[in-house]
Symmetry: C2
Subunit: 437 residues, 2 copies
């Protein structure tokens, strides 16, 4: 970069580049769904000064398409890219290695980087940003969270004037799709998952999504950008949605709620509460109305209150929009050091998963007299107040689901009570425990 980039809009400023705007040369590492969408946008959009010069992928012969200009160089060798006059390297191939090495080498070679790689940025974002800054380059990662929803720039730029303390979001489209299906069709979890896999909404191995590992990488990035907290993804508790049954939606609905996988980070003094877990969400909340595979992030600040960002969280084209927006931001800035992660996280809080909320406890029991008495005695001993007891009519006595809601208290207190409760012999399953947001 170093002065070579010059966006059209800036050509009249500064005086040094009056001879007209120069192109910004872009290399694409990875030509899968997102990569080919990025290439499409770069080719189709008129009047931009971005020029795709390289595409790197394994087995180029098989990948090569005829709709890209013949000037584009196809290669399988990263050195072709690194030794070229490329300004911005766009990494959309995913994975941790060799991706990390290549990104380091690109920065070291004086190129800026745009990446959609959430796991990599969640793990070593600050380090890579530091390297970029030392090299007078930028690394941008707007596409790493919530695809086309511009939440990274929204937190970093649009809400920079606020003091954000809470972020709640639906960051995993697969979980949202599966939970929506259980809700709409009353099917068991396993059926909804199979259906999602058949339709391409879930991977063959869905663990990353279902168990919240995908979402917690994104939450770690949002906590860094929005709350200025340095959080390792492994320190964020992730609970699976696989325990959710269609009966839970019936009970949730009776409580004026639905159930969603919620990514939640909240700063309280020196402590950061952070967790990804299924939760009951009131129907009045924007979080309850996220349909299918969409994403939504709600940021709460001291001054501005709640601000919502929503849209398509995945898919080639929406993710590519985020990537191209990042390339444009780099081209526009003609300078370095303004990367989103450019500000070193200011806080290193203790990370906890102990939230305070109302609680939903769903039991599956072999019915007999005295069950409520046993449960309520244990809860009372722990100092927990029961809010309501609800039982759906017409269920078999041998597999009787019923619900206890608790008044607001710490989750750790409830877990303590559940350690005793889960030993009771009338339980068919361990109790399902969800927060009510």
């Amino acid at each position: 970069m170093t002065g070579r980039l010059n966006s059209t809009s800036d050509s009249s400023a500064g005086g040094a580049h009056k001879d007209g705007a120069k192109n910004c040369n872009v290399a694409l590492i990875g030509f899968g769904t997102v990569g080919s969408s990025v290439a499409k946008i770069l080719c189709e959009r008129a009047n931009t000064h971005l020029r795709l010069t390289h595409v790197l992928n394994r087995n180029v012969a098989r990948k090569k398409v005829d709709w890209l200009p013949s000037s584009v160089q196809w290669t399988e060798n990263i050195d072709d890219v690194l030794s070229s006059d490329v300004d911005v390297v766009v990494e959309v191939m995913g994975g941790l290695q060799p991706t990390e090495d290549w990104i380091r080498r690109a920065l070291a070679a004086g190129k800026s980087v745009v990446t959609a790689n959430k796991q990599l940025i969640a793990r070593c974002g600050p380090e890579l940003t530091g390297l970029a800054r030392r090299m007078n380059q930028q690394i941008q990662f707007g596409a790493s969270v919530a695809g086309g929803v511009p939440v990274i720039s929204g937190l970093h730029e649009g809400l920079a004037g606020d003091e954000l303390f809470k972020i709640q979001g639906i960051l995993n489209g697969t979980c949202n799709y599966i939970l929506s299906q259980i809700e709409a069709n009353g099917v068991p979890f396993a059926t909804a998952l199979r259906e999602a896999q058949k339709l391409g909404f879930a991977e063959a191995d869905p663990t990353e999504d279902i168990d919240g590992l995908d979402a917690r990488a994104k939450l770690a990035i949002l906590a860094r950008v929005g709350l200025h907290c340095n959080v390792r993804p492994e320190s964020i508790v992730a609970r699976s949605i696989s325990a959710i049954d269609s009966v839970d939606f019936e009970y949730a609905n009776q409580l004026g709620c639905t159930i969603r996988q919620i990514s939640w980070a909240e700063l309280r003094g020196d402590e950061l509460f952070a967790a990804v877990q299924p939760a009951l969400v009131e129907l009045s909340s924007p979080l309850s109305r996220v349909e299918g595979s969409r994403n939504l992030v709600m940021a709460t600040g001291t001054y501005g209150g709640e601000t919502v960002f929503g849209g398509h969280g995945a898919g080639g084209h929406p993710t590519a929009v985020a990537v191209v927006s990042d390339i444009l931001a780099i081209a526009r800035s003609r300078q370095t050091g303004t990367s989103y992660a450019g500000q070193p996280p200011e806080k290193n809080p203790t990370v906890t998963s102990d939230y305070t909320a109302k609680h939903y406890l769903r039991f599956l029991v072999k019915d007999r007299p005295g069950i409520i008495a046993s449960l309520s005695t244990i809860l009372a001993h722990c100092g927990i107040n029961i809010d309501a007891v609800v039982q759906k009519p017409g269920c078999p006595k041998s597999h009787l689901p019923f619900l206890i809601t608790l008044e607001e208290c710490k989750a750790s207190l409830v877990e303590q009570a559940l350690q005793q409760i889960d030993k009771l012999d009338f339980l068919v399953h361990p109790c399902l425990h969800l927060p009510i947001i």
Copy 2:
């Protein structure tokens, strides 16, 4: 500015400012609700490099507060600000004059400007941006639309990679509050307006809000930033919400809709459709769920589909967040010419208010035989298909409200039919005509 500004986060980059970050000096023009909120945020937030140096207001003696540092200079004279070493002039006093002159003089004096003034930016944004660019300065106006909702930066930066073609939004909290009240309490428009005035949600003279003039200034700005269209606010049709009655909400609900004041701009080839008007909105749309005085903007792009930005559209603190975010953006960039309006609008489309949609026609008639026959004959002659006829039971024959919905067609066609219909002698009022979005 010219190199004097240096944000903390950037201090390690570039090398020229290793001696540490310099302050960015800020002058506040106007110390009303928003102005004092901006001052509060600047004072309360730690670790920022923004320093409030001047406050300008009429009658300073009465305005002066004790919670600002004594270093702040209070003045009634703009020359005190213009001759000082202030870097950024923040204009939150509103009005067109002397505001415009003062902003021009500030830019000419080598200061960047942040303004929340929608009417001014809607009228002469491109001109002021041009002046800023010639002076190597910036003018930012993120607070001019939707208060604390970061939609200007979202459209300009976050969605820069997309090709947006449609913007629909709820941009006026007063109208949204009044319509919500008519809906919730079944009160007439005049009652809801009086209530809103009593609670401070509506001005003593509510014309700007009710008749859509406030929203169309905002829509002109969004069309410029998001659709790159040069639109004068006067060329946008604005229709009042004052004709909406509680019976319209009853009918709307029967159709699975609610009624909101919708600001809508949509690019179709060389034509820009743009209007601010009350419209029926399906309950499944995010636009239908905007509560009270909140704002929401939905942007639709060729690649990324629908993206939603929502939050507090007014109020001192949320608007101040947008203002401070703009100051931070200027301080961060340490360069000029990257203002949001920095790109000259690329398109100068013909502006039309002729939308294509389904239509809602609500009549108030003196009942007698043959009414439906008369209406349907006129509609048929105009080539318009009726979708449904709905009549609420139990209404007086002398003031009978009923509803006709039409299949999708051009609004101009419906207006043509209404010119004939409104002459019919059984009508108590002219027909209320709304689009169904």
